[in-house]
């Protein structure tokens, strides 16, 4: 169809059937039109002319379609016209009373790259039906000019043509302003992959992203357009890749790519309409809409979000803790087995590296794998169901109050897994101010690396207590509540910091974006497990790489230099033995045991020394034990009185002594002997503790910790915690690893307590809470710093983030600790 009249522009009219397209066409052309057929099809083509000022405008009335798929000739003709004839502007006429459905075509036009103007027709009917549309806001969200019209009354037509002329004046800019839907983390990589394979010369077939989407939809028409533009082999490779992508999407999402794409488009539309359309009459009918009426409700949305989060943490703890407990026991068993390769009490370097460094260091982190995987699984299920998009929507109102858009919450949500991809996700924010603000505060959203720290501290200092029952379904414990509170504190601090930044360094208007609300869907188990594994694998790989390397280096720094052997230690040991034997001799005399009491004490001393030198299940210890029993039996056989003393000694602390046997009379003597043994044991333990402490303090790490300790004391931290926090800059999990190393290296003989129990001995719950707080607020790790540096394009922002977060962490923790101490919630540092 060629009209040889000179024209200033060509305007295509598109829209759903019965949207008023023909009315507008007639209003503009005065009803004068050429009617023909598109080549090869029976679809009618209508074209007319109009004038605006000195401009002559050709109007083409495209067939009425609901979408631009390839299912009908009308749809194919409409989109081919846009691709081949390249009209200067496309006016999409929408029936306002059915806005969401009509917007589907508009979104597809935007994907196609058509320079677009939207005519919101029948706006009078929509208003009468109780619908209020914020046209300006919606226009901003979509990046497309919108003009309300009442075509049958001729209202809005001039404004519509003016908008069309403005778009036609610079169509490239108009297309550039349009906001396109994103297809989600399963589909976007596939779209990007296929788009990258579409060569530039295929522009005729449509822009590369659109072609990629069509390939995922298995659109044969779009493929036919590629045939003349690509060599067969190249096309075959592209089609093969598309088939692969479709299969992958189907296996992960449980539905065809075409359906997921449609869902995402509707999610985009739904999100835009949620923000801009107010219905005074309840008209929701779709299930997703009904659920959203509650989930995104102004008053219910946030409490629901909090309850759901609490449930997630509760289930994670409930299922994960027992599993972690088994791993903890296994780790200690393995470390014990390694040490048995060397004589007991050996100071072997290699043994220490293997058992104290690798097993107890890296193992201390790996025991949290069950909890971490469970949490990632829960998050994956929430994401795949579509709920997380609602969470972002719910946060949108809050974000607006601090000068950000809810879209900023999405990188922050990602930051709950890891800060680095969260910071990278800020690329989706167009405004540099928004990007920088989000990037700088994002680390305050507690990442997965901090989880082992929280779980360790909570388990060590806050014994499990059921607080209340949630709707009679689940018992909520103090542990789950405390874990959730760490996340909430992080969110609160992030929002406060963002508000401060937006009020000071980054003043400006809030940018607008569509908050997409894809329909709810039942997550597939396969999809959820894949997402869980992806995140969990990163954690495991980090444990096997950076944490492993860091723990080895930290072990070396905590083990060397070794202090010289202190002769006072041996002297203390000898003195303790002498004092014990002297006490035993006194008891022997007073109890009338005729030297057998002293002999008994000597035999027990020799057994204790054998226990120090040999492993319990070794042959040497077995022989020593037999020898002890033989000697004691011999003493008992020689003397009746000693036999009664022995009976009292073995039954000490119980009521198991027969009065008739007469042993009860020797109970005080037996008790005194036990006390003497206890005193000897205490003296030796004190000596060992001191030796272990000196060994740690003498090391490089100890000296660094001591140097930093004065600055950290106001926060309630001693040198051990300070060094662990320093070490945690490489990766937050290393805090747990380093505490594992410190307590393994600083272990005292016969002390088989787990890490949690040892922490309980040295610190208070208040200090434990402050450790968690400091870990929450301070920078997660060096890669976060580097990511900020690269994404902001300036090292000053990265350094500012490091300094700011460190000062904030120190300040908040110090205040909490000092106030807590003043209120009597915990004592200070150990003596």
């Amino acid at each position: 169809m060629k009209d040889r009249r000179p024209r200033s522009m060509t305007v295509a009219l598109a829209g759903n059937p019965n949207s008023g397209k023909t009315t507008i066409f007639n209003a503009l052309t005065g009803g004068r039109a050429h009617v023909g057929n598109y080549p090869g099809v029976t679809v009618e083509l209508k074209a007319g002319w109009t004038r605006r000022g000195d401009k002559s405008i050709q109007l083409v009335d495209l067939p009425g379609t609901y979408s631009l798929t390839a299912y009908s000739a009308e749809e194919v003709v409409a989109r081919n016209f846009i691709l081949d004839e390249k009209p200067d502007v496309v006016i999409d006429i929408l029936d306002c009373s059915n806005l969401e459905r009509n917007l589907y075509l508009a979104v597809q036009m935007m994907e196609l790259g058509a320079p677009l103007v939207l005519a919101f027709n029948m706006s009078d009917l929509a208003e009468a039906a109780g619908q209020k549309i914020d046209v300006e806001m919606l226009s901003g969200l979509l990046g497309v000019p919108i003009v309300p019209t009442v075509a049958h009354k001729g209202q809005g037509i001039e404004q519509l043509m003016a908008a069309a002329a403005a778009v036609a004046a610079d169509p490239d800019q108009a297309v550039g302003r349009q906001r396109l839907p994103t297809y989600g983390r399963e589909l976007e990589p596939e779209v990007a992959r296929l788009a990258a394979m579409v060569p530039d010369r295929c522009r005729q077939a449509g822009r590369d992203r659109w072609v990629a989407v069509k390939l995922l939809e298995d659109d044969t028409e779009a493929v036919n357009r590629l045939h003349p533009l690509m060599p067969a082999a190249e096309l075959a490779e592209l089609l093969g890749a598309a088939e692969q992508s479709r299969r992958h999407i189907h296996s992960v999402c449980g539905d065809a790519a075409e359906i997921i794409l449609a869902d995402r488009r509707y999610g985009f539309i739904s999100g835009a309409c949620q923000e801009t359309v107010r219905t005074t009459v309840e008209s929701r009918h779709a299930l997703s809409d009904r659920i959203d009426a509650v989930v995104t409700n102004r008053f219910l949305g946030l409490p629901l979000f909090l309850i759901l989060t609490l449930l997630v943490f509760q289930v994670t703890f409930w299922l994960g803790r027992p599993l972690s407990g088994y791993l903890e026991k296994g780790k200690d068993l393995l470390a014990g087995q390694v040490w048995q390769l060397w004589p007991r009490g050996s100071d072997s370097l290699l043994g220490s590296l293997l058992a104290d460094g690798l097993i107890k260091g890296v193992g201390a982190v790996l025991v949290f794998v069950p909890i971490i995987f469970l949490l990632f699984l829960a998050i994956a299920l929430l994401e795949d169901s579509g709920y997380m998009a609602r969470a972002a929507f719910v946060m949108d109102r809050l974000m607006h109050k601090i000068g950000l858009h809810g879209r900023s919450f999405i990188p922050m949500l990602i930051g709950f897994g890891c800060s680095v991809p969260g910071i990278l996700a800020t690329r989706t924010l167009e405004s540099r101010r928004d990007r920088l603000t989000t990037m700088l505060v994002l680390p305050l959203f507690s990442c997965g690396a901090r989880l082992p720290v929280y779980v360790l501290i909570i388990a060590a200092f806050f014994p499990r207590r059921t607080l209340f029952s949630l709707f009679g379904v689940a018992d909520v414990t103090n542990q789950a509540l405390l874990l959730m509170s760490m996340y909430l504190i992080g969110i609160a601090l992030a929002l406060a910091a963002a508000k401060l930044l937006r009020s000071t360094l980054f003043r400006g208007e809030v940018s607008s974006f569509v908050m997409e609300l894809p329909p709810y869907r039942l997550p597939t188990l396969r999809g959820a497990l894949i997402h869980t594994w992806e995140r969990g694998w990163m954690f495991l790989r980090k444990a096997g790489t950076v944490i492993l390397g860091a723990v080895i280096v930290l072990w070396a720094l905590t083990s060397f230099p070794r202090p010289p052997t202190d002769p006072a230690d041996q002297a203390t040991r000898d003195q303790a033995d002498r004092q014990y034997l002297a006490a035993a001799a006194k008891i022997d005399r007073e109890a009338g045991l005729s030297g057998r009491g002293s002999a008994f004490a000597e035999a027990r001393l020799q057994l204790a020394q054998a226990r120090r030198r040999h492993w319990p299940d070794s042959q040497a210890f077995g022989a020593a034990r037999l020898d002890y029993e033989r000697r004691v039996r011999g003493l008992a056989q020689d003397s009746d009185r000693f036999a009664r003393f022995l009976a009292a000694f073995e039954a000490a602390g119980t009521d198991d002594v027969e009065e008739g046997f007469g042993a009860a009379g020797l109970r005080p003597a037996a008790g005194a002997m036990l006390e003497a043994e206890g005193r000897r044991r205490e003296q030796l333990q004190d000596m060992e503790s001191g030796r272990a402490r000196r060994k740690l303090e003498y090391s490089v790490m100890g000296r660094m910790g001591k140097a930093v300790e004065p600055a950290m004391r106001p926060c309630g931290f001693d040198w051990k915690i300070s060094t662990a926090l320093l070490a945690a800059l490489s990766a937050k999990e290393v805090f747990v690893g380093q505490m594992g190393v410190i307590y393994a290296l600083g272990r005292v003989e016969d002390d088989t307590g787990e890490l949690e129990q040892r922490l309980q001995r040295d610190y208070t719950p208040l200090q434990g809470f402050c450790i968690m707080l400091f870990c929450l607020i301070s920078l997660p790790c060096i890669p976060t710093l580097v990511a900020t540096w690269r994404e902001s394009g300036s090292v000053k922002w990265a350094l500012g983030q490091l300094v700011g977060l460190t000062l904030l962490a120190w300040g908040v923790t110090a205040v909490v600790y000092q106030v807590g101490r003043a209120l009597g919630l915990g004592t200070g540092l150990p003596a």
Partner: protein, 57 residues
Amino acid sequence: MAWQYVIVGLIVAAAAAWLGYSIYRTFTGKGGCEPCRRCWTIFGCPPEQEKKDAEKS
């Protein structure tokens, strides 16, 4: 026992060198692959990913 010092020294030196190299790769953007560049491993990314990154750059 001197042999223990040698073995332990080699292991610690290797860990320190590898850690330092990983930090260097992170700072220079050479570590890992898009999008996060933080795999922290000297073994790098799968070959297809590295090839894609090379084509992009």
